[in-house]
Symmetry: C2
Subunit: 198 residues, 2 copies
């Protein structure tokens, strides 16, 4: 019907694909389901993308670039490093509770990427991005608490990413809020001990 520029169509399809993956899982993210979600015809899909694989790759790249979620907020209450880190993890947990499907989609996209050698680097980039955001938060938190990381902050960031992933996956399974908060507290404590406080 209406003529839509190709780049615009691509982003519309990527957004639709993310909604389908979030709501129904990657197994149901077929080209038909995606164009239906986007309100387009099937042929439009292959006008904008060469293949479904190309769209999935673009989807992963896009969500990774879009990722802005920092684990430590800009303004925090609390004085000790452990308190600041715990507040950050609790903040992440609230974000997870607000939109569980999004984090579930990210996990599915990661595992999907891990299954093909060509796509594995996309998963690696995704986690490098997570680590980068974590590193920024950790540097800020230490600064805020007047503390110094004893080991390179990049290594601490890698640990934080692992803890966050574990928190996410276990909560998605059992939806136990109290247990998730216990994980957040323990993780904050462990991380804080990797720094010297002033």
């Amino acid at each position: 019907m209406t003529r839509i520029p190709a780049p615009e169509r691509r982003t519309a399809l990527i957004d639709a694909a993310l909604r389908v993956v979030s709501h129904r899982g990657i197994a149901h993210a077929t080209t038909r389901a995606i164009v239906a979600e986007a309100g387009m015809s099937l042929a439009s899909f292959h006008y904008a993308f060469d293949s479904r694989d190309e769209l999935i790759d673009e989807l992963i790249t896009t969500v990774v670039e879009r990722e802005q979620q920092a684990v430590v907020p800009d303004h925090v209450a609390g004085d000790s490093l452990a308190e600041i880190l715990e507040a950050g993890l609790v903040r992440y947990f609230e974000h997870l509770r607000a939109d569980p499907e999004h984090e579930q989609a990210m996990l599915e996209l990661t595992q999907y990427a891990l299954r093909s050698p060509e796509r594995h680097p996309l998963a690696a980039k995704q986690y490098a991005r997570y680590a980068e955001l974590a590193e920024r938060s950790l540097a800020y938190a230490a600064d805020r608490a007047g503390a110094q990381w004893r080991i390179p902050v990049a290594q601490v960031a890698r640990v934080l990413v692992a803890f966050t992933d574990g928190l996410t996956l276990t909560w998605l399974v059992d939806r136990d809020d109290d247990a998730a908060l216990a994980v957040a507290r323990a993780a904050a404590d462990a991380l804080s001990r990797l720094a010297d406080e002033a």
Copy 2:
């Protein structure tokens, strides 16, 4: 050809399905791929199982029941609780490195189960089983170190499961052994602080 009792055929198909999921991912675990792996004809499948869904459910149930991996070994070197826990996590990590595809398969099965309401309880059971094994290990570790958990050991177990999951997922992505060991150390430290040592 040869007549095989139905129960035997079922277990053979389940074993084959696990191999397919491990090697190629759940998306490729079609009935055809599974019977090929098992060396059977397609019709044999539907003689042993009513549907593919039934097999997948059985597969998840089976692998969960089969799960014996305890995070803390029977005989440990080391005296402090933190050391015992770290040794256990390192032992788990060695297990992960020895057969990454199996843990990847378990993660995929979990996420697959999370996507359908009827199967969600299977994922919950899987994690309840993990927690049970973790609890046993933690009780043993505290006993071994002459320590006492300050909070119910079930809660500590839930934290350990989350840390283990995070360790697994991040290592599967970046295969960074040093970073994984750092996670193990931090997690052991955090967990040990949830107990009073004698």
